[in-house]
Amino acid sequence: MLAGYDTLITTIALGAILAYSFHVVLMAGQLSLGQAGFAALGAYVSTLIVPTEPLFGSLSPVLVGIPVGAAVGALAAFGLGLPVLRLRGVFLAIATIAFGEMVRVVITNAEWTNGALGIRVEKWVTVDLAWAVVAVLAYLFWRLGPSRTGRAFAAVREDELAAGSMGVNVVRTRMTSFVASGAIAGVYGVLFAYFFGRIIPAAFDFGLMLDGLVTAVVGGYLVYFGPILGSGFLTAVPEIQESLGLEAGWIHPLVTGLLLLAVIVFLPGGLSSLVTRARRRPRPPEPDLDALAALPPPPETGTALVRLRDLGKDYGAVRAVHGVDLEIASGDILGVIGPNGAGKTTLINMISGLEPPTTGGGDVLGVALGPAGGAHRFAQAGLSRTFQHSKLFDRLSALDNVLVGAHPVTRPTFLRRLLWLPSARRDERRAHALAWAQLRRVGLDDRAGLRPGALSYGDQRRLEIARALAAHPALLILDEPAAGMNHVEAADLAELIRSLADDGITVLLIEHNVRMVLETCTRLVVMNFGEVIAAGEPREVAADPKVVDAYLGTGETGENEYV
């Protein structure tokens, strides 16, 4: 039917598979480029195992090779990931490229690989088999996207700090994407070897890495079918040029290069953004009160949630915070005020697990402060927070931002979604109900489909609060939530905070709007030069001369205007 086009069509499939191995790391924001190495290992090891005769008379022997390639690639990725996943961005890229080159050099010099001359094998891979693998991968990524794991990938890509604070295990998510990338690259290596019937180390070089990366980026890594689009485009463009009669050797690469440039410049989300542009707005479901009601009740009023003893943080010789003893009990609305640079944000970064303390210790919701672990453990224990400068997930819709927030109170759904289990659908529906409830609560339900960049500043702050609330926190930390709000918005916010307290959520509020703090808080802590200089009932603290001197100042009359 398609005689004469088999190789072309299979090349598209192989290109897509290679691109998927980049897609999965780019989805999680990791610039990992060691796929050529994983593919080479998968290909070469599979030649040791794949039988030379068809299985049971007619089954392709590559069916043995595919899982072997996947396993080899995954293992290699795991081994490499342990040391290199500490690196980020361009450093990770360099380390992984170095790995790919290392593999190539080792294979070139090894005996069993027949060195630079390579190995010849039977051509067992057919068009159908290559496309079946693409279909399986597309299916996996289609089911992954709107699952809890898929949202964790997206959150880590957009902002690792915020993702961790929303309960996403950043280290594990990065490793998962890395290992998946290795497995897919291993499968690619096996298919490549058994389609062309030949593997040489030079096939797994820098150029292969570049091809895969370009295909993944051109196709777009925000949508599951991006690699197929990218590979189809990059394979079709030279062919179409040829059929149009563009003969000269140098014109092909030039036209292809210009088209690539056009895609990158005008479609930053890749070709797939042409398709997703038309995506419909999310429609709010009916409020599901059962989902909210089924959440665990808040801790009993008066339970100590946070206990800090002599907590301190030094940056070299700078003592950002020292000697802080603090206890926060359930039901408190604790205000923390103080001049800029007083150590307020450092203090809450320690409480939420973003920074380990250098002296002292304590526990937050039963999790001990310390160097080990990460922010996600505190988030899973019931702590949620916003940031002084909004850390929203820029390329996710408002709704998806809030859905990530629901991470700690939902169950993983990816594997169950693969099997279409009804329980996965129920869990996803519940997550959506929780997210919509919070969007309604902050008044953003009519803007759920917008990206954060399209929201006003005040709306962005409210969206961050909604995201934090979706985690159903016992303790909510708000870092200057009213910054940049006008006084009407600030008053609404104060109202919201009080209603949270009524729901039993303990709030720690850092704020420069002293009037708002005095009106909403039940307790007040004042910091200056890294120390707590006063703590207690808000009006009394505000009257404290030390506080007036350090922070509040006096009006023109010499009177303290807050008392």
Binding site: G4, Y5, D6, L8, A132, G197
Partner: protein
């Protein structure tokens, strides 16, 4: 409803997977087209239909240095043949971009889409090892023109080559150099990453052993290397009578230059890669004293050689090299096979290619055996004052 839809999709996917996993054993499709059979034989043969020929060459990227000469050689040969009349050929040129993937795709295109009667190419043995299995299983006679590595004709009975194996060229140049220059001990440098240079290295070692020449230095490098000082300083430390080199042109130029710069004055003996005027031009003075064993020589007094060089130079504005000469010859060999039975079908071409005996070409008398191997006398040349001259003992 949803359940049925889902399970239907799953069943379809399972069916696709099950069928995809099967391997089919398809033999070469026997097809014969009466319109490709003409009347008369030999020079009188007349075939109505145009005979399609495919030429898969490396016209861009790494091996383009050879591919362009080959395209021109083929083009000129078929222009001459078409002008002579009787049989009209149409050649489809495909660029394999010096890559395995594109080479496989190009072979598939000329075999299945253009349905050619015969294929010429590819440029590199590296690709031939994969693509020749395809033309073999499709039953398309294929003539290699620069695929000199060991084991190429053994791929199958549809595979031929008009390219003198490197081993034969070297086997001739080493004894000739020994005889005329009195060489007793040598250094051998070779590219271990290329199929062709690596197999040539094996031949060299055998020939050197047969001739009783001692190898005092043996060093390897890889395609793409640019600095050879480590290998060359070992050569320098051991006084050798000659340096024997198995390399592609890309590495030959810097290596020979670096050797001369280091003060290594001994003659350098090489194979096919040396046999190009471009190389001599690139090397400038450093080319002096290079000894080349090859399939063709501009200085050789073979049938039509002088006309070939003159016409080629006029048409393409540069002197031909061995790649052009061998490609030119391959076109004539195919024409000879077609005219033998006046039949341009794949089977007939294949049968008659294997019967070509002592065909008078610009490479001298050339024969193709049924197993696909070529037989011809190699030419040993030495470069003196920038000119190839035959090295005669």
């Amino acid at each position: 409803m949803r359940f049925y839809r889902t399970s239907g999709a799953l069943a379809a996917a399972a069916a696709l997977l099950a069928s995809a996993a099967c391997v089919s054993e398809e033999g070469a499709a026997e097809q014969s087209d009466d319109t490709l059979v003409g009347s008369g034989t030999g020079a009188d043969c007349t075939i109505e239909e145009t005979v399609p020929i495919g030429a898969v060459l490396s016209l861009t990227e790494a091996a383009a240095f050879a591919g362009e000469y080959q395209r021109e050689g083929i083009e000129m040969a078929f222009e001459e043949i078409n002008a002579a009349g009787g049989v009209e050929y149409e050649v489809t040129y495909e660029d394999d971009k010096t890559s395995l993937e594109d080479s496989v795709a190009a072979f598939e295109k000329v075999i299945d889409r253009d349905e050619v009667s015969a294929i010429i190419g590819p440029t590199l043995s590296n690709m031939a090892f994969t693509t020749y299995t395809d033309s073999q299983s499709a039953g398309v006679p294929t003539v290699g023109i620069s695929t000199t590595a060991e084991g190429i004709p053994e791929i199958g009975d549809y595979i031929f080559r008009a390219s003198l194996p490197e081993e034969v060229a070297l086997a001739a140049s080493i004894p000739a150099a020994k005889e005329t220059l009195g060489i007793e001990n040598v250094a051998v440098l070779y590219d271990s990453a290329d199929e062709f240079t690596d197999s040539a290295f094996n031949t060299m070692t055998d020939v050197l052993a047969d001739e009783g020449v001692e190898v005092v230095v043996e060093e390897s490098f890889e395609t793409g290397d640019t600095d050879f000082s480590a290998q060359l300083s070992k050569v320098q430390q051991n006084e050798v009578d000659a340096l024997i080199l198995s390399a592609l042109p890309g590495e030959t130029v810097p290596l020979v230059k670096q050797a001369r710069d280091l003060g290594i004055e001994s003659p350098i003996v090489g194979g096919n890669a040396f046999n190009s005027p471009v190389l001599v031009g690139a090397l400038e003075d450093a080319s002096e004293g290079l000894i080349v064993g090859g399939a063709w020589s501009a200085a050789a007094d073979t049938t039509g050689n002088a006309d070939f060089i003159a016409d080629y130079t006029e048409q393409y504005d540069r002197a031909p090299d061995q790649f052009a000469a061998q490609a030119y010859t391959a076109a004539y060999l195919i024409d000879e096979a077609v005219r033998a039975d006046c039949d341009a079908n794949r089977e007939a071409i294949k049968d008659n290619l294997g019967q070509i005996l002592e065909f008078d070409s610009i490479l001298g008398p050339i024969s193709l055996a049924e197993d696909g191997e070529v037989t011809q006398e190699p030419f040993v040349q030495i470069i003196r004052s920038g000119e190839f001259t035959l090295l005669e003992g």
